[in-house]
């Protein structure tokens, strides 16, 4: 790590050069006419997929060099539109058309679109934006969403970013478009920690790695000298909990991204694994084996005494807090096979919730609270969801071995890893709650154990 990067600033500003636009619709509240058929539940995406969204290049007021990887501000305007298009297309939510196939608007048209022309192209929704290099070296990126049929602006926003963070402005714009059209919370501007895998099946190198939600800004954290497993991003993205064999035995470490240092979560000499954060980042759940018996414990992120939450002679492992922190869903084989249980955050009131045949493992509570994702083992391994009461079980993936779901920050998309039969090759996959939009995430090498973090502020 080099220097701390200033945080992306959110502004509600409009460009100085632009004329005053019609006042935008109030965000996130009552939906005017253009929302008809678009703000329903995620259970049927077909309407969205038929929605044509045009995302032409974002013009700039002056083409000047910028340290952003895309180069000058004009090139950056094209790159921004490309990233937004990829975000929307790759998640199967819309049918976006990117800048390569579209004319670039003049700067003045960003706030006063040429609606008749876009209507003639069959465009339903239009995304415009601009790039401006500021005197202090930062960039301002504006983002506008228009309903072409109505000839109306739906929403707009602008962000000030450092050149190194330019992709975040594109993700914020994609989030703005997605949220406005779907009624769901944003999720593109987020990061993923995972385990990068290389080498033969019986001698696999496993390294901790991080990347943006679209695979950009990839970085390896550990060298691969020792096995690293099961990372979890802290809610503020400053630390990562993970398991390492660095000192011979499997132990949980808390890795600080700013300083590049790590420390043990507990001083205990017993093996510890399956680390998890509480939603507020103040507590850590971990599993510890003593004399072969594994139970779940809770400890403050500042250390101190651990609280033992389970005490069955079976394997109690994992755990995931409900969004309000009051409950924990976990896995236990106390009944004879792996099943999913819920308990209060102090360990009281333990109750099995999975009763649908097969085994149920690796439960993860949705950030929205309404669903629990888990690995359903009935022959093959599939990623599935159920309600926190254990009802409405649905399998979302159909691989030979799909394991370890992790939720998008908005609780509408799930990532997991898929292992190939025979070769043991692994990759990260993503599926939405309909189970229809499944895709593989690009990673430089094989990948497992994804952990999706929250939306960046």
């Amino acid at each position: 790590m080099k220097f701390a990067i200033p945080l992306l600033a959110l502004l509600l500003a409009v460009p100085a050069s632009a004329q005053t636009a019609p006042s935008p619709a109030p965000s996130g509240t009552a939906s005017p006419a253009p929302d008809d058929g678009l703000s329903g539940s995620v259970s049927d995406d077909s309407d969205w997929q038929n929605l044509g969204i045009a995302i032409p290049t974002f013009p700039t007021n002056a083409d000047v060099p910028t340290p952003a990887s895309a180069g000058s501000t004009a090139a950056l305007g094209r790159a921004l539109a490309d990233v937004i298009t990829a975000d929307l297309r790759n998640n199967g939510l819309f049918k976006p058309t990117g800048p390569a196939a579209l004319p670039m608007p003049a700067l003045g048209q960003v706030t006063a679109p040429d609606f008749p022309t876009w209507k003639a192209k069959g465009t339903d929704m239009l995304v415009h934006g601009y790039v401006r290099a500021n005197g202090d070296g930062n960039l301002t990126v504006g983002c506008y969403l228009y309903d072409v049929a109505l000839g109306q602006q739906l929403t707009k926003m602008a962000w000030v970013v450092t050149p190194a963070e330019w992709r975040r402005a594109a993700h914020k714009c994609a989030d703005l478009v997605y949220s406005r059209l779907s009624g769901e919370s944003p999720f593109f501007d987020s990061k993923i920690a995972y385990i990068a895998e290389t080498g033969p099946k019986n001698h696999r190198m496993k390294r901790l790695a991080i990347m943006d939600s679209d695979g950009a800004n990839h970085r390896f954290i550990t060298s691969g000298q020792s096995i690293a497993l099961t990372p979890r991003y802290s809610p503020d993205y400053r630390q990562i909990l993970y398991l390492s064999y660095v000192n011979g035995n499997p132990r949980i470490y808390i890795y600080d991204l700013g300083s590049g240092t790590q420390k043990l979560v507990t001083a205990s000499k017993n093996p510890t694994f399956a680390p998890r954060w509480s939603p507020d980042g103040k507590w850590i759940l971990y599993s510890m084996a003593i004399g072969g018996n594994t139970d779940i414990y809770r400890i403050s992120v500042n250390g101190g005494d651990s609280l033992r939450l389970t005490d069955s002679p079976g394997i109690d492992v994992g755990g995931s807090f409900s969004p309000d922190g009051s409950k924990i869903v976990f896995e236990s084989d106390r009944s004879g096979s792996q099943q999913v249980y819920v308990m209060n955050a102090d360990g009281s009131g333990q109750k099995r919730i999975s009763f649908f045949g097969g085994r149920a493992a690796t439960p993860e509570w949705s950030p929205r609270g309404d669903q629990i994702a888990f690995t359903h083992i009935a022959g093959d391994f599939h990623v599935a969801v159920m309600s926190p009461a254990g009802s409405g079980m649905r399998e979302l993936s159909k691989g030979w071995q799909d394991e370890a779901p992790t939720w998008a920050p908005n609780g509408r998309v799930i990532q997991f890893f898929r292992t190939e039969r025979g070769s043991g090759r692994t990759g990260l996959w993503q599926v939405d709650l309909t189970g229809q939009n499944e895709r593989r995430l690009p990673t430089p090498v094989d990948a497992s154990d994804p952990a999706w973090g929250p939306v960046l502020p």
Binding site: N202, G292, V317, F381
Partner: protein, 172 residues
């Protein structure tokens, strides 16, 4: 020289195991090269064989019985395991200064965290049995590798049976 004699020894051990045991692990399973400790040539001394009391000696003496095998999701010690653990205890009694680590492993058909816990159960089951045979608990440690270190790389019942194991490794 050494490589040839080692190959012979491995082949011989495999043949003996074929005759000697018959249960869960496929009978053709040779002692795993990983346990021969190829990195410690100094311990093997000359072409005459491993130094008595070394890990190489342990592996050569046990002829495959340094490893015990488990059924899916199980960690109990059965009759065939007890024979292997008795042979291990015999060797460990002969070299009372030697310490050992028991590695618990699982097949790939389990979730990662659960397998780490299950590997602990398997390693501890073997350890507890060795202690019951009179081996000082202070000489024994355990470690679970879950599904991270398979010896058989296929995705078949045969390969999985070979991977559900606890391996005793003495510390040179």
């Amino acid at each position: 020289m050494t490589p040839i004699s080692r190959t012979l020894a491995v082949t011989l051990a495999g043949a003996l195991m074929l005759a000697g045991c018959s249960k869960k692990p496929p009978a053709s399973l040779p002692p795993e090269p990983g346990n021969v400790d190829t990195g410690t040539a100094t311990n093997t001394g000359t072409v005459n064989g491993p130094v008595p009391g070394s890990q190489a000696d342990f592996v050569a003496t046990l002829m495959g019985q340094d490893t015990i095998y488990f059924d899916t999701d199980r960690f109990n010690i059965d009759a065939q395991d007890t024979a292997a653990l008795q042979a291990q205890a015999q060797w460990l009694s002969k070299y009372p200064a030697k310490r050992a680590t028991i590695e618990g492993h699982c097949d790939e058909r389990g979730t990662r965290d659960y397998n780490l816990a299950l590997g602990e159960k398997r390693a501890n089951a073997a350890k507890n049995y060795l202690v019951s045979l009179g081996i000082d608990v202070a000489r024994l440690s355990t470690i679970s590798y879950g599904k991270e270190k398979p010896v058989a790389t296929g995705s078949t019942e045969e390969a999985w049976a070979k991977n559900r194991r606890a391996v005793t490794v003495t510390i040179d």
